[in-house]
Symmetry: C2
Subunit: 217 residues, 2 copies
DNA sequence: AGGTGTGAACACTTTCACAGCA
DNA sequence: TGCTGTGAAAGTGTTCACACCT
């Protein structure tokens, strides 16, 4: 039955991350005018194996042609569909510190379907200022504005001590997705999805690996 | 010779990430003056299970006391040792754009043992300027300076198109660890460890999860 | 009693290897 | 022939359950 749409299997986190990587590589190939690509070549660009690429793609359907490979543009389009990038998302950013400001001013999110529609801070001296063309609002107004602006995803770039109070507001607003830069495991109700970006954790994984290596040979 | 040092078992990436999280939670407990903590409580703060916590810790030794739990300060100290945080690391940052500047100016790395000792860019108009008290050097000087300054880890906050030329220099300098914000899989020689921080990938994993949910119920 | 440390069972992910289609 | 799609095998990571120590 052509139930192409709703996926019943459980898709792993890592498979999704790889899809995201494949997509970026496909988009580069597309720019170069390439028509088809093999799982072998895709694996080289993604640091994985050809079998892994085929398995990942086969979770969502049969996109390739045997003997030929995958059609570049079509596959890219399919992956965009899978990742929910065939639509636009409305984001709010809370915490206009160094990282928060850098993110708003970066402006590259829009190109990938993510529109930052409102930004917030609790610091009165920042409220009313602008970043990347948006006016900083007070975080006390978050629930109202989030509703008005139909915010679906929140980017949290706030320090540890701000987490409890800010999270009360975020939960109150019924936001379903959070991209968190806060250095802690957020507590959220069922149904809310959190992804963490944690530089310190990555650095620590790095120093662990380097320390290990020193011990050897 | 307590064979405490070199670990023979294979330690998973995820176990290390959890250790990093445990450490942060332990340091918070320490501030609150807590003496001991159970795997049960640690699991609550880390979003995992008590068994997982015990397994993770047991990979490196027996730090707890049956019937009592783990001594907070001592365990924190042990984890710091495991993660290679009982020493200082010398970092260089390449790419003083928005993200790069935010990272240097953040200044919080020093507190955790990571000293940024030099910063680089290829943009002549930025070279000679300062960020967080450091003078921006030209990336052409990277190899020389990295040697002089004994750089062990590089933070790469550069755009895609700069990757090939910058990576030539980084490889040439014999750096062993890279924390990359570049939106691609870096190609490095054996023995060089790379950790990626990729916000777009996390956002895409988020929109995938949210899209899935919409299909349901 | 209370809570760790850990082998054994289970669950999930990746790799292999090959049938089958263009 | 060339390369996909996929069951089956191998490998990894997580959970269970309980012996054992304080």
């Amino acid at each position: 039955m052509g139930s192409d749409v709703s996926i019943s299997k459980k898709i792993s986190e890592s498979a999704i991350r790889r899809l995201s990587l494949y997509l970026r590589n496909l988009e580069n190939l597309e720019k170069g005018g390439r028509e088809t690509v093999s799982s072998e070549e895709m694996s080289g660009q993604s640091g994985t194996t050809a079998a892994q690429v085929r398995k990942d793609l086969s979770l969502f359907g049969s996109f390739g042609k045997r003997g030929l490979g995958y059609p570049v543009s079509e596959l890219a389009e399919r992956i965009r569909g899978i990742l929910g990038l065939d639509r636009r998302w409305r984001l709010a950013l809370i915490g206009v510190g160094r990282i928060g400001s850098a993110l708003v001013e970066y402006g590259g999110f829009g190109r990938r379907g993510y529109d930052i529609v409102a930004i917030f801070d609790s610091d009165e001296s920042k409220v009313g200022g602008t970043r990347g063309g948006l006016t900083v609002r007070h975080v006390d107004d978050f629930e109202v504005v989030a509703e008005e602006e139909n915010v679906q995803i929140v980017i949290l770039s706030i320090p540890l001590e701000a987490v409890p109070s800010v999270m009360d507001r975020v939960r109150g607003a019924g936001v379903r997705g959070i991209l968190s830069f806060a250095p802690t495991k957020l507590k959220v109700p069922d149904g809310v999805v959190v992804k963490d970006v944690n530089m310190v954790m990555e650095l620590e994984a790095l120093s662990f690996a380097l320390s290990q290596r020193e011990g050897e040979a």
